[in-house]
Symmetry: D2
Subunit: 287 residues, 4 copies
Amino acid sequence: MTTHHDNWILAAQCPSKIGTVDVVTRFLREENCYITELNSFDDREGQGFVIRVEFRPEGAFDSASFVSRFGDRAQPFDMAFELTAPGTRMPVVIMVSKSDHCLNDLLYRYRIGQLPIDIKAIVSNHPDLEPLAAWHKLPYHHLPITPTTKAEQEAQVWSIIQQTGAELVILARYMQVLSADMCSKLSGRAINIHHSLLPGFKGAKPYHQAYDKGVKLVGATAHYINNDLDEGPIIAQGVESVDHSHYPEDLVAKGRDIECLTLARAVSYHIERRVFMQGSKTVVFAN
Amino acid sequence: MTTHHDNWILAAQCPSKIGTVDVVTRFLREENCYITELNSFDDREGQGFVIRVEFRPEGAFDSASFVSRFGDRAQPFDMAFELTAPGTRMPVVIMVSKSDHCLNDLLYRYRIGQLPIDIKAIVSNHPDLEPLAAWHKLPYHHLPITPTTKAEQEAQVWSIIQQTGAELVILARYMQVLSADMCSKLSGRAINIHHSLLPGFKGAKPYHQAYDKGVKLVGATAHYINNDLDEGPIIAQGVESVDHSHYPEDLVAKGRDIECLTLARAVSYHIERRVFMQGSKTVVFAN
Amino acid sequence: MTTHHDNWILAAQCPSKIGTVDVVTRFLREENCYITELNSFDDREGQGFVIRVEFRPEGAFDSASFVSRFGDRAQPFDMAFELTAPGTRMPVVIMVSKSDHCLNDLLYRYRIGQLPIDIKAIVSNHPDLEPLAAWHKLPYHHLPITPTTKAEQEAQVWSIIQQTGAELVILARYMQVLSADMCSKLSGRAINIHHSLLPGFKGAKPYHQAYDKGVKLVGATAHYINNDLDEGPIIAQGVESVDHSHYPEDLVAKGRDIECLTLARAVSYHIERRVFMQGSKTVVFAN
Amino acid sequence: MTTHHDNWILAAQCPSKIGTVDVVTRFLREENCYITELNSFDDREGQGFVIRVEFRPEGAFDSASFVSRFGDRAQPFDMAFELTAPGTRMPVVIMVSKSDHCLNDLLYRYRIGQLPIDIKAIVSNHPDLEPLAAWHKLPYHHLPITPTTKAEQEAQVWSIIQQTGAELVILARYMQVLSADMCSKLSGRAINIHHSLLPGFKGAKPYHQAYDKGVKLVGATAHYINNDLDEGPIIAQGVESVDHSHYPEDLVAKGRDIECLTLARAVSYHIERRVFMQGSKTVVFAN
């Protein structure tokens, strides 16, 4: 379910060590915070500890003070944490090319308030989707890209991300390969949708590859960008049945629905602080 | 998969009788029509025979003549049939109230050409969704309804359906109960989306009913209107997992995705002549 | 995932009150217990608080002492709790009639060690499944039932449950309606599999009902027995697609797979202490 | 649905050519055979035509004569065909190693009559599953294999297949790689279950590979053997959700259910003549 409106979220992560849960829950108790949901996980293979708590303060609540004082407790655990206020809308940049199914889906969820994001900009290497952005009264940056201007274009993109204070970049079927430098800058804060179940069909035209193999299922994978565009930690995956009568263009059509749903789910999880990166994998407290 | 662009579709239905397949296939052979897909079903419980053929003429093709001459063959079988040309766009009226998730989804599929429909009008008992219609350059009729004006409003709706030549009415979360008369007029040519797995949770607020029961799955049902709004033959159903953390408003949000997908699938099947009504049930040659 | 072998489980439940998490986690910290997974949920509608913790003691661990001392802490919260040792096999009685698909499935999972249960007895009102029990070297009690001997038969069943110390009764397609008295005795400790998505198709022959409605999905529901056999809190539900070509006997066949999987999943959740009853619903920390 | 008991099945396949449907349906009409279901597909990419018909003769029916006379009609189309009588039980050999989840599942379906096969032998390179075979009163051949005896062992296996007249070999988690020669002999008449969604995770320990990638879905693939054990035409695929808490052994456990269901579905499709090989792919008239 979506995070409920009067709930704060505390999400934290650190190396495994006895007391990691207690340091969080004891502090919340002392602060008179009522925990409505808590999930923690400690990876037995050494990837560390993560915890997500939804709570509501029973009395007055000073978040700056909370952060400062909890920071003192968290420090001996090398615990990174983030406190999210109820009603927070994460600043976001969306990147697209020509296909607009994921964009249309995200904008719909945004428009009806289902996805609590604050869309700062839509960036594209093509002008095609400007009208859709305009109808939603959202700024649209057409930043074309050519082999020789890639570095320059990425610098422009990066500048927009910086200036808008975007905390998340959504690659909603942005069909350009990001440079290693850009991937690195966006590591863990950019979500990509890949139109296949990785690692099955990496590379170009995965639906054609799937068709050639005669698969009976097609899927989509939403993952974080890390230094390899198609290889970052997986957040969500979706799948749908197909049969022999689905030619590549039919798989593409089928794929659109899965891509929309899978990307939207991954973004929701991220926004609600349900996702933690642990090495090359994620912990997702899904629902 | 979607029907392929150069294919004609012949859909036919009649009482069970030996020779029902042969009368169709022999004629197509004589007409030099190449069959790419054929599905037939004969209900053992006496509900009759249905057949759907996709074919392409090998040579010149005069559809009027085809219909006339096949009509002679079909007549002894009391066979009703319909021939659909490649590229046909079915004239459609969409009815909505205030919720726009299904409308937004249908309009998107319409806009990118995935759903070969010709939207003649959007009719609503509320003004709210007019901007969405306007952006798609589609006529929007705001026909408010009150207990005393229901008959009059339905007459206006019916008039629009008649005047536009709509062959299908899509009730995309139209929250008014149609009169028995209107249901009867629209029998088999109007598709409704009900936000539950009928007959589990009929009536109002099915998601609240589902919540009260603590269900672990929520669903949606797309069905034809017949004389009972929530009881017509089922075309498609969808389902999604939920858990204890989903309060009614979360079920509503989850439900939106299933409703969109299930309604769109049902409309696609109808448009592609994959659906046949047999008594209180349907035969659907899905894919 | 299944609970890992070196982990203890503490499951607890109480009315909502500030400090419910802390009283658990602080004690575990003091006892030098390492928490590997924790899930808690507090129902906003007043159904109370539940928590499940997987942990491993870092040093020596005396469970009797743990229980006694934690009991003192839990008492002010009216907190009921249960501590489960690694490797615990829950004593179970399985009740069947003539259909053996669920029994066969459960026995397989039992045999390969996937389901950590200790099957004390298989009870049936028919002799048919005795050979299957015998092959697994399990005691089989044939307790026939007639209208006039129902009370007596239930007394025999109850006696077996008592004598074997069974903590869970699995109704693996036991086709007799239990008396209100028996339901009451088994409340919360007996799991039934109902071959439909309740409350859609209650009563007899749900697959025939589903067929008559022309449904496109069939399902199964595993739930606790309470005072109404088909109405207890739902633990798990499963669903599968069907089409017009599925006559009632085909739905029955399709249903077998869903029933097996849904019942097995519910039993696993129960065994791993993932399920909590809250009024007429359950909280399930599934995975 | 399963093929109904009084129905014959005619399955045929040939290069694309006008008249392929008509040659079948006209003959059936002439023979006074009542068609209850028909599905045909003609691949636009040049892989040819397939058709499957379920029918019941209205009068006397001489199958030998039917085959002979239809053969004359089919010959100009280079049409291969197969006629299957109602109640036919396909002779089968099942090959296993030590894991018995698929075997147990197949034997259950066999035992209750859901899978109309005639199990001629169970062959294994290990003795472990002999008791399970014995309980079902089925011959079990323990044919151990070592690097030096592989050719010899395969010769023994082949001899059993030949002598029993097995038309289908089911590799129900047989953990030996078949030689190219054996693959070739079994091409199109042996079904293998691979415990992953190929081509994602080929090779050894696919669940460990999946774990390392942090996938959120695991799957299984049932396919025909051709000259490459893990690469033959796919018949069916299944998938299930997993999360971060699933360590490799948990994925293995989850995988068992999918493997059983996917293999059983593929075998059913094959037995009911719903599957046709077209090059490296299959046409499956599933249900």
